[in-house]
């Protein structure tokens, strides 16, 4: 590392009003290296990258690009120095073509009109930089998230970006898509592009990173090589060692009563002939690739979507097709995949959000039971350790982990005994993850049953009693907790995974 860094944030600090978000942090990005930024939600990662991208101005310290101290008053100024950010929420116009998106803001013209052929040629050249082979006339809205991300990277490179800030690019990607992104990153690294990479997936760090900067509560904690063991990284990040990332305490299965029975459930084009049961005190997980039909299956069981044939029964009572209220009445609680889009009313208070499932059932003559609701919500918020100022605060202001706990809390208030969890810890930081796992233990210890879908294999392996693997809408196999390994699950989930990784 004797070379000079492309960009350095030197002893920077940032406060918003009385709150100090970043205190005396130094981080550098070198040509041809991937610098990883690691920290829990709220550790200051996004503030830091916004300073590098010209969105925020540091209150203390300074920014050095190519050895010269610079001021980045706007994102445009940062881009001119070759610093581009790939945000989690992509900045593409979905109704325009790839070519138009790549050249947005610098559309080539001829006699005042759009020069279509130049537009296409330049866009093709940009895509070639990362080896993306798609028709540049395709509408961006027709692409999957992974390809949209690559289009955005191509766009950044085509404006001569030398420093790429990648803000959780893998959060919405499947394992396979992540692999292709990493291949592109490896290629960029060979060509001397410096990258700042943020991810919640600890296992990705060693795979793609060179050096890791760990932040905690806005402060610089350590800079360590990316090969550092995960447990040590967690310890640095959280400030204490988490004894057990997956504290599964197996419930009393075996002779326990069967609670959920799904029989020959079929929904044309989504999943086919699915049968299984979940017993009291059991966590059954469904593993599989994105698109294998897992979310669709969970939604059908929860009554959200209809299905063509088969049946769902809770404690022997068969549920009607596609009725959410009937599922809830039978004891089913559904924690959906997209917390913000489907789980919460973001502008409503924590209190309201906790009470939606029980709004009608606790009412008297159509009148809301405000006192009781408030009492129940306060109790659950306390029990689940939901961190908030007041229970009347809009839930938007809470962190991802606390928002997710509120979705769980809604079903605890409703006394649900069958919880359907779809990616329960997505976008949740390490500390809150463990709290959610402990909550799952508490639910099964009390005789509840849990059906969980997750794309995080360690979570599936660590928290389940039994694992079903789905492939192309069918059950490809079942594994017990004892016999399940990452390889065993992946072999069932995708036969061709090894060839694709080569």
């Amino acid at each position: 590392m004797s070379q000079e860094p492309l960009v350095t944030l030197q002893n920077v600090g940032k406060s918003f009003g009385p709150v100090t978000v970043i205190k005396d942090v130094t981080v550098s990005v070198y040509a041809g290296q991937v610098q990883v930024l690691l920290g829990e939600n709220g550790a200051g990662k996004s503030t830091l990258i916004k300073m590098m991208a010209g969105v925020y101005q540091p209150d203390a310290g300074h920014i050095v690009v190519d050895g010269k101290t610079v001021v980045l008053p706007t994102t445009r100024a940062a881009e001119e120095l070759g610093i581009a950010t790939i945000h989690q929420e992509l900045n593409l116009v979905s109704t325009m073509s790839i070519a138009e998106n790549v050249m947005l803001g610098r559309t080539p013209t001829k006699h005042g009109m759009v020069d279509r052929s130049a537009l296409r040629n330049r866009a093709r050249a940009a895509l070639a930089l990362i080896g993306l082979d798609v028709d540049v006339d395709t509408l961006v809205g027709e692409l999957g998230i992974a390809q949209q991300q690559l289009v955005e990277i191509a766009k950044a490179l085509s404006i001569n970006a030398r420093i790429l800030i990648l803000d959780e690019p893998t959060a919405a990607l499947t394992r396979h898509e992540t692999e292709s992104l990493f291949a592109v990153m490896a290629d960029l690294r060979r060509r001397g592009v410096g990258m700042l990479f943020i991810s919640h997936h600890l296992d990705e760090i060693a795979e793609v990173g060179d050096t890791v900067t760990v932040l905690r509560d806005g402060e610089f904690i350590a800079e360590v090589p990316a090969s550092t063991p995960e447990a040590d990284l967690v310890k640095l990040m959280v400030g204490r060692s988490i004894e057990d990332q997956f504290p599964r305490v197996a419930g009393h299965s075996g002779e326990a009563a069967e609670i959920l029975r799904v029989e020959k459930l079929t929904s044309a084009g989504k999943f086919d002939d699915i049968s299984f049961t979940v017993k009291a005190g059991e966590v059954l997980s469904i593993a599989g690739l994105v698109g294998a039909g897992r979310t669709e299956l969970i939604r059908a069981i929860a009554g959200v979507d209809n299905y063509s044939s088969g049946s769902v029964a809770v404690r022997g009572q068969v549920l009607p097709h596609g009725s959410i209220p009937a599922a809830i009445a039978a004891g089913i609680g559904h924690v959906p995949e997209d917390r913000k889009g489907e789980g919460l009313v973001l502008d409503a208070s924590v209190n309201d959000n906790l009470g939606y499932a029980t709004l009608a059932s606790t009412a008297r003559m159509g009148l809301v039971d405000f006192t009781g609701q408030r009492r129940r919500a306060s109790e659950v918020a306390k029990k689940l350790r939901i961190r908030m100022h007041t229970i009347d605060q809009p839930i938007r202001a809470l962190s991802g982990g606390n928002q997710q706990k509120a979705v769980f809390g809604r079903w605890i208030i409703a006394a649900s005994t069958v919880l359907l969890l779809d990616e329960p810890t997505r976008g949740v930081d390490v500390g809150a993850k463990v709290e959610i796992y402990e909550l799952m233990n508490a639910i099964t210890a009390a005789g509840g049953a849990i059906l969980m879908v997750s794309s995080e294999l360690p979570e599936i392996l660590g928290m389940s009693d039994r694992i079903l693997v789905m492939r192309d809408g069918r059950i490809a196999g079942e594994l017990t907790a004892a016999e399940a390994t990452q390889d065993a699950v992946m072999t069932l989930a995708a036969r061709d995974v090894d060839e694709q990784n080569d």
Binding site: P336, A360, G366, V368
Partner: protein
Amino acid sequence: MSTTILPAKRRSFNYKKFLANNGALVGLVVLCIALFIATPDFLTAQNLLNIGIQVSTVAVLAFGMTFVIVAGGIDLSVGAVAALSAMSSGWLFASGGLPGWLALLGGLAVGLLAGTINGLANAYGKLPSFIATLAMLSVARGLTLVISDGRPIKTAAEVSFLGGNIGPVPMPIVILVLAALVASFLLNRTVIGRSMYAVGGNAEAARLSGLPVKRILVTVFALAGLFAALAGLLLAGRLDSAQPQAAAGYELDAIAAVVIGGASLSGGLGKISGTFVGALVLVVIRNGLNLLNVTSFWQQVVIGLVIALAVGVDVLRRKTRNS
């Protein structure tokens, strides 16, 4: 009843927060003081009663609109539905030979029906509320003209009573107060009212929590239709007749009142008290400009600017609060 948990926080009154959350009310007070200084005619009993009568129609329409906007929709048909309801009531009385009170109820039923159709088209027919109610606007106004053949119809005595007085108090003001209480009760205390906020805030999250989103939407539009019918009958009562062009364009006043009152057009936010203040702002401005002899042409310009200002301030306020 919900203040038991955090009594300590509630006791200290936060003026800054109150002002920030009640911008429309502050604006209204400033407006009234300015008019009081500008003209001696403003603060007279007669003028205040006038304002009360004028605000009654707009506010009752706007209460119905509040349900719709809180639930994330929009209702462009309320003015036309008001006219159709009043006209139907007049027709049932004059041509149908129904007793006056039955004709009055018939008018309300027509409004409820029109609103229900809006709701069914929106919730089950998947038409965006803007389109469904735009269609209803045209249909209702057209039917009003068909029924009346373009001429006013005399309404029943029971309807005229709505435009009259109880002692010194004009009946429209009494109806206004009752409507406000009922609307506020529905929105704040009942399951269906609280559900409207959830549906407007995030319909999918509401559905996944087991709330009957479609039924809620139908109810919301049905209520808007019912309140529109009441407003139409109030208007007819004042004139002793149902006019074919009555309440034309009132939907825009109603929307403006709701928005000035702090509701968000993207749904999930809004209060009856805010809507009432919003309606008062509109009416007081018109009244004041009349007293100051400003022509109705310029009044429209001023009202437009006030709407832009009120919403602009609100957007700014939310922005600063969120960051």
